[in-house]
Symmetry: C2
Subunit: 594 residues, 2 copies
Amino acid sequence: MNMRRDVVVETQRVQEISDGSSLVRMNLVDMSVKCECVPDTLRFCGGRQLTSRIVSEEVPATCDPLGPKNKVVIAPGLLSHPFIPCSGRASVGAKSPLTGGIKESNVGGTASHSLVRLGIKGLILEGGRPTGGPFIIRITPDAISVLNASDMAGLTNYDLVKNLRDEFGSQVTVMSVGPAGERLLPIATMAVTDTHGYPSRHAGRGGLGAVLGSKGIKAIVLEPPRRSASSTDNLVGSKELRLVAKDWAISISKAKKTLTTYGTANLVNTINLLGGLPTRNFSSGRFEEADAISGETLSRLIAERGGRSGHPCHPGCAIRCSNVYVDGDGKYLTSALEYETLALIGANCGISDLDAIAMADRRCDELGIDTMETGDTIAVAMEAGLAQFGDADAMLNLVEEVAKGTVLGRLLGQGVSVAGKVLGITRIPAVKGQGMSAYDPRVFKGTGVTYATSPMGADHTAGNCLPGRGGLVPENRGGLDCDKPEGQWHLSRDVQILTTVCDVLGLCFFVGTTLKNLETMALLLSHVSGRDWNVDDLMEAGRDTLKVETDFNYHAGVGPWQNQLPDYFRIEALPPTGLVFDVPQEEMDRTTEY
Amino acid sequence: MNMRRDVVVETQRVQEISDGSSLVRMNLVDMSVKCECVPDTLRFCGGRQLTSRIVSEEVPATCDPLGPKNKVVIAPGLLSHPFIPCSGRASVGAKSPLTGGIKESNVGGTASHSLVRLGIKGLILEGGRPTGGPFIIRITPDAISVLNASDMAGLTNYDLVKNLRDEFGSQVTVMSVGPAGERLLPIATMAVTDTHGYPSRHAGRGGLGAVLGSKGIKAIVLEPPRRSASSTDNLVGSKELRLVAKDWAISISKAKKTLTTYGTANLVNTINLLGGLPTRNFSSGRFEEADAISGETLSRLIAERGGRSGHPCHPGCAIRCSNVYVDGDGKYLTSALEYETLALIGANCGISDLDAIAMADRRCDELGIDTMETGDTIAVAMEAGLAQFGDADAMLNLVEEVAKGTVLGRLLGQGVSVAGKVLGITRIPAVKGQGMSAYDPRVFKGTGVTYATSPMGADHTAGNCLPGRGGLVPENRGGLDCDKPEGQWHLSRDVQILTTVCDVLGLCFFVGTTLKNLETMALLLSHVSGRDWNVDDLMEAGRDTLKVETDFNYHAGVGPWQNQLPDYFRIEALPPTGLVFDVPQEEMDRTTEY
């Protein structure tokens, strides 16, 4: 394997720093590869805390996100270990070309565990765009190489990964950028291969694929050792630890049966019923054709066609909320078709054709663009008259404009905030340059507070206050009415902290952040990290991360003045509930009180 | 006259507040028109100090610049009086859709004196976009009316003004927006008629035409009383005052003969020789065909064809730097063809065809778009491959895209910062969202400091440190070498303050800010304002204005983190001088020390 590809540089890895405490730092301009021991200050940081701290310390806040001073940091969480359930999340951090602030984009798939098995605590990609290229970075237990991949320039993620698996074997994990990342579009993602080897998991938000593209990187190929290799012995864990993890997996599995059966698409009917399903560019909260794109319809269709529900995005997931969507002939089309994609490419564009939405999802994964930002953007393009709401073919054609790289495609590739402005639309559902997720903030007011105040921009993965989700203090442990303004600022702040804890640990937020679960996390972390942790310590890691991010943003010019929703959410009543967003702005101006 | 047009609302003016101390406040949503006495705090404020103070006090810093909370304030300067030379400048202020910060855009023509003769110290336009419309505001000595102008929607400034002069008489002053302002493009201007009645003077920078458009205003028609009318008797001035003004006019006229002969175009050869003429998207500082667009060539051609040099933009100008450019048949084409247009639509696009540049200037005036921002934007479009540098037809076609309102036209209408980003260009000559004027900051380092630190964005009219221009302190009164980094921060700050003084007074900066001239300004102002002024008082008005603007910007999120030039000016040596911008960033971080 790898016989025909030019190796530009190859560095042997030093065994002593391949034990899980090493940072790998690469710069393709001077083709330098360094393995560094993690400094003491970062020793107990992982995932989002590690990426945000490194970005904050090393990246000038005012730099061009697509210039040579930005850095991409990729890190598994502190609990990312093959035997801990739902621990396959990796954090990707950088200054975002979409928001202009710091970004952590979280991704499932096989990357997190592969990095851990390679003994890598963090991968730092720095420097400008090298001449030639693009390049592939290949990491094995023994060596790190930079390979010329000019033959792969412009390939979609699916074609690229197929080629790389042919070349390096089907066991590899691939992190990659599609044509959108190569073209530095701010909606570009970093794709990660799933358990089937498809590039279907994406660090989707914030345009971090463009930052990778700006470093001349097309793909990072991870070839972890087999599980029996001695260098990964420390990952097996003690017998007690394995028992705790196993019990926890069983308990998670029991609690999350709906997610296993219907996937995140189970939310379509719920959110629609509550009147918060973004429909036709956030002009209604209820979509009359919602049933056609619901989790129930989706899982029935998948079953009929021989696809798969209850599919794990990484080995060891106890929830398995993913699915494999196949076409009418039973042929693989995409994975996973998720709630946010169904809502934003579907309802928000007035579209109820599952096959069309699935095809758009596949094309987004191929091009390496965020399905949420894409759905938001196409909806404003529809409002601007470039297509009719409900016209699935027109929607797919707009995605193809991005593929073709036309001026219109480049415009759509900027995301909803820029595209909406250029097209003269005033109803733009975005905060800090980032499009909203699929929860209308007039109904989901805590999520609205998160959109407005999170250092991440309008991102539900920063703290989604769905009904029943509780905060830290006893009085809102059971959650609040999502559509009442009272208490939402506190709830949002608490859920932001809890979400960040999961991001630091590399856990899927779906495990649930009950006090009992937090205690289990602390216990597991005490076992694997070499020091004692309690729940307060976890909270402190979450708070510290948010403070570091907020501070970076302040110096980047993404300050408290941007902690607000677009005016129209406060003025325009959302049918059918008639609600407006009415959490007092004064509350949202309290930005640093994490 | 005005027989056939619907009068939506008409308010009689109260004589007592038409004496030069009244603020007129209008809102076309509820069709309210109020004449207010100026509050004591604003009594001695005029021009830019008045616009910036009112915007700062009344406009929420974080509001949507094109939304209902923004306001446009139009004000003549404190010395704007028909008998004071070079005093025909008006300030237009608002939150800018281009920079996101506060903006004062300064304009010549007949507006300033007409407002003074109508007894209006400031015109405040507020509220959202009314239904119907667009509307015309007509102000006579007796009444203020709002007229329906739906028949004039979409008209170019030239066609609009022709119609309005037919309807209201040729003596009117018209302030108007073209199709670009109606479409809310952030490069839209507010046009003002000149002494011939052509809409050839523009408050060009910052997109304030779009803010007027967002209020549903197509034009403001000013019908001042004839000079003999009793209400303007106070404008005649004392005999002593008239003597001082007359002497000053003679002295200015003597000192500025080059400007009278060649216009601002006299700078083409000078700036080219110094190596700071932006050429092909700021990739060179010398244009091999500069002579073809020089002031010498231009004035010769104008003379041959029967156009006019030495043309005043308003009555009473002692400098008369404007010109009337006629085509090969001697027919009026445009006025004035200025240095910045010649440099940015010419050299910066690689174009040396004067007729093509004049036609572009005319089309920009017709559409109501800033020639500087347009030139910058077309050059990045050329760098992105949408046209070849030097292709005059392609340049004109790109202007026509704006006229047609295509997606590409809307993109170009955003200005260089957004268009460059969308088109994937990294070399974007802009600060705070606004394109640079025609002075490469690697050669004109003080102007570079102004670009970086001014609350106005990259705007030479905020403080252009050309060779020989001096600051406030004796050691740089005689100016510095423009291409050395030492002392430039202080020089820029001083020139920014001096420029602001002129903006507050309504004087053209070309009068020169020597100490003697400043003393004359203070003397004249003491005569007309009813209190004593000295030079320090003038400086304090300038400083106060800059502080108010800087403070507004901070709260709008346009803070010190944006006080920098794009990286490439520090890295990329400019041919042929090989200079980079090397004023230490630490100096430019000193933002509030006005």
